[in-house]
């Protein structure tokens, strides 16, 4: 028996002294008479100021005899008392461990105090979802700050938060929901946990994570909504949806989303109802025509020239008589140019992007017409089509539309008007398949346009 005890003691000391090979692991020994306090932390995660100001003075003053005593005297919330084995796991999440040693023998229990270093940017204006009216604060990369931004707008007992960890990086995440929507929240939590198991790699961002969720896989259409506005999140929560926030992501993921939501912008919340209705109908029309305008021109100009009224034919002939390319090649070149232009200016600084936009949009377009590479009519149509696309309420829809234009053009070129019909048939077929949190992404309610009639829904 004594031998066994001796072995255990040796093992424990050995276990305690095992130091993982990471250079940001620091140890400080505070020796107070017969007791030694072994304090350990990762300098990359822990806030040493908290240790200096709140922990060390208290230990020096009270000299606690056990971990339980330490827990009582330290003015820090959420202190945990666990074993040595969990030390590494705690330290990487920003805890400081304090191990009490008496006469050179370490106590079996270790105190872990949360001292996470917080270095986040402050709350700033939204970068993507611009609105003339309404509050200007946007989410940051801090989960706690983001939760606070939601909570202070929705001080309701019905608002629940469930904390999770996702990925191998053990990123903290939170599912926020109203009490009535517990079932939907459970569905989201299930999907989050499943994808964390299936994809154990570290996660980069919430939008990256959304593609790993069950409903987000293998689909061209984004089945979740993303917003950087706390106000929009609160509005969605009140409308029966649930939100997922993640540490390090400056956006909230909202689900279940519906295709109709892609026509709803946060600025709608501050406008009168009739105005909102008109704008939303306009957005729907923009969506349809952004995908129809140039393909229709290509189809009709290629196969059904007789469909144009006589005066229009006259204008078209004058416009096209010097152009050596077919309508499809013209349209394809211009649409590709618009995509390249948007891609080129997307990551430029503001001032440069404005200049680049002007150069690409006006100068190259005009020069191409004068050089006889494209016709005036095509330039007008492509510009109008681009404007219609940019009128989309959400970034996801905008990106999707730019990509969908090319297959639409191709089908119009190959099969004419029936080709456009086939394209829309396939597009809608895939769109109706998408599910968001196991609910149909594209589904109309009892009144198919109810959301539009309600205006603010």
């Amino acid at each position: 028996m004594p031998n066994t005890n001796k072995n255990k003691k040796a093992n424990m000391n050995a276990n305690m002294n095992v130091k993982p090979k990471t250079d940001d692991w620091h140890t400080y020994l505070l020796e107070l008479q017969e007791r030694t306090y072994r304090i350990e932390w990762l300098s990359s995660m822990a806030d040493q100021q908290i240790m200096r100001e709140r922990i060390l003075p208290m230990l020096q003053q009270y000299r606690p005899r056990s971990s339980e005593d330490m827990k009582l005297i330290l003015p820090i919330a959420d202190i945990e008392i666990r074993t040595h084995r969990e030390k590494h796991a705690f330290l990487i999440t920003g805890y400081i461990s304090i191990t009490l040693e008496t006469a050179g023998v370490a106590h079996p229990d270790v105190l872990y105090a949360p001292c996470k270093s917080i270095n986040y940017r402050s709350v700033e204006e939204p970068k993507e979802e611009y609105s003339e009216s309404g509050p200007k604060d946007a989410f940051t990369e801090s989960l706690n700050v983001n939760l606070n931004l939601i909570r202070r707008r929705l001080m309701s007992e019905q608002l629940h938060v469930r904390m999770l960890t996702v990925g191998s990086g053990k990123l903290p995440a939170a599912v926020v929901f109203m009490a009535d929507n517990r079932l939907t929240a459970d569905r989201l939590i299930y999907q989050v946990e499943q994808s964390s198991i299936d994809h154990p790699k570290a996660l980069l961002d919430i939008s990256n994570f959304a593609t790993l969720l069950y409903n987000g896989k293998h689909t061209f259409f984004e089945p979740f909504e993303f917003t950087e506005l706390p106000l929009q999140t609160v509005h969605m929560l009140e409308n029966g949806k649930v939100a997922l926030l993640m540490e390090g992501s400056r956006k909230a993921m909202i689900g279940p989303a519906s295709f109709e939501d892609t026509f709803v912008a946060s600025s709608d919340l501050f406008l009168p109802l009739p105005q909102v209705r008109a704008i939303r109908y306009a957005r729907v029309i923009c969506f349809v025509f952004s995908l129809l305008l140039t393909p229709l021109y290509v189809a009709v100009a290629t196969y059904n020239f007789e469909m144009f009224p006589l005066k229009v034919i006259q204008t078209l002939l004058i416009s096209r008589h010097n152009v050596p390319f077919s309508p499809f090649v013209e349209a394809f070149m211009m649409e590709s140019l618009v995509m390249v232009q948007l891609e080129a200016i997307a990551r430029l600084p503001n001032k440069l992007s404005q200049s680049a936009g002007v150069v690409a949009g006006i100068i190259i377009g005009t020069a191409a017409v004068e050089a006889g590479v494209i016709s005036n009519v095509m330039l007008v149509l492509v510009s109008a089509s681009s404007l219609l696309t940019l009128a989309s309420a959400t970034v996801q829809l905008r990106n999707m539309l730019f990509l969908l234009k090319l297959p639409s053009l191709l089908m119009a070129m190959v099969l004419g008007l029936p080709g456009i019909c086939v394209f829309w048939f396939l597009l809608l077929s895939r769109l109706f398949v998408v599910r968001s949190l196991d609910r149909p992404f594209t589904l109309f309610g009892f009144n198919p346009m109810s959301r539009y009639f309600k205006g603010k829904g």
């Binding site: 190959v414 004419g416 456009i420 048939f425 109706f432 198919p448």
Partner: protein, 373 residues
Amino acid sequence: MTQERLTAWQLFYIASGTMGCINFYLMMDQLIDMSSTSAYMVLLAIGAVIGLLCMPMPSLLTREEGKDFTASHMAAFGTFFGVFILILFLASLILAGGMMLNEMMQILDRYQTPNLEYYWIAVPLMLVCAVVAGKGGVRVLAGLFFIVLCLRIFETGLLVLGVTSSFELRSILPLWSGLPERPGAAIARGSALFSGIEMLVFLRLYTAGLKARSVRGAIWSAVGAHCAFLIIGSWLMLGICGFDMIRLVDLTTIDFYRVISFQFFEQLDEVGISIQLFWTLSTLAFVLWINATMLRKAVFRRWPEAMHYGTAALLMLAVAAGLWEFRLNQLLQKWQPIVLLVMLCVYIPIYGLLLARARKSGQRVPTVGGESS
């Protein structure tokens, strides 16, 4: 026992009932020249009611919700008879699908549609589209038919506007014949708005997510709409008595598909053909979906879903190609309504028998909406 929403198979029953009656109308038209819109309306209403009566059948058969449809059919009918009925359905649907493909080909050919007038390009393309849509399930089909309905509403709106003297269709549609639309014709075409499977699939979409009470409300609203059309139809019956407002004479299946679908848009040739194509693809997808589901439930259970769709599509393609090769479309279209009518006539007594069996066993008689009274 409450039912949350219409199930796909209930929808199938309604569609079968309605389409059966429409085809009955076509057959009667050919036999005794019963050609009026009102007769069509009456039969449509009867079809809808028969379809509604058929709705609780799955729950009757299965005695519980969600049990396998085909298995319960087999159990209820006895193995041989159940299989026979299912094969009859499968065969007739594949035949109807093949005919529809060929009819669309004839239209594409007639209008010289670019690159689609060749049989071996257009037909496989249509089947691929149908498989893509059918694989999505009933919700996708419902969505597609909803779009078809929206187009019809748009068409009807234009037609109604065309009746008024202040609105000339030529001003918005350059290829319009120039003749003003007659009120009777406008109403008759408008009547197609809520007919056939589009209406039923629309109901499925319309009622999704609603409680049983709302489902019933929506169904009876649709029946009410049919009654309203029936009243208009009786007015149009005057056409038979010498008021030549509208007459639908010498109607064949091909004409029927054209009459109930976008005749107005066909004035625009290519636009009309494109929309007709959209309608045909949706219907083909629906047929394929039913066939593939039956195959999956009845035979080759271990095959993946894509294999079932592929098999159903290949069967349809083979039938269509055979019909095309042997010029059998014209002959078969005379018999297709009779086949469907026989199917309906077989099904109604079976329903009666099942109802009687349910009563005998002491089970509550289900009412419309699938909810026990």
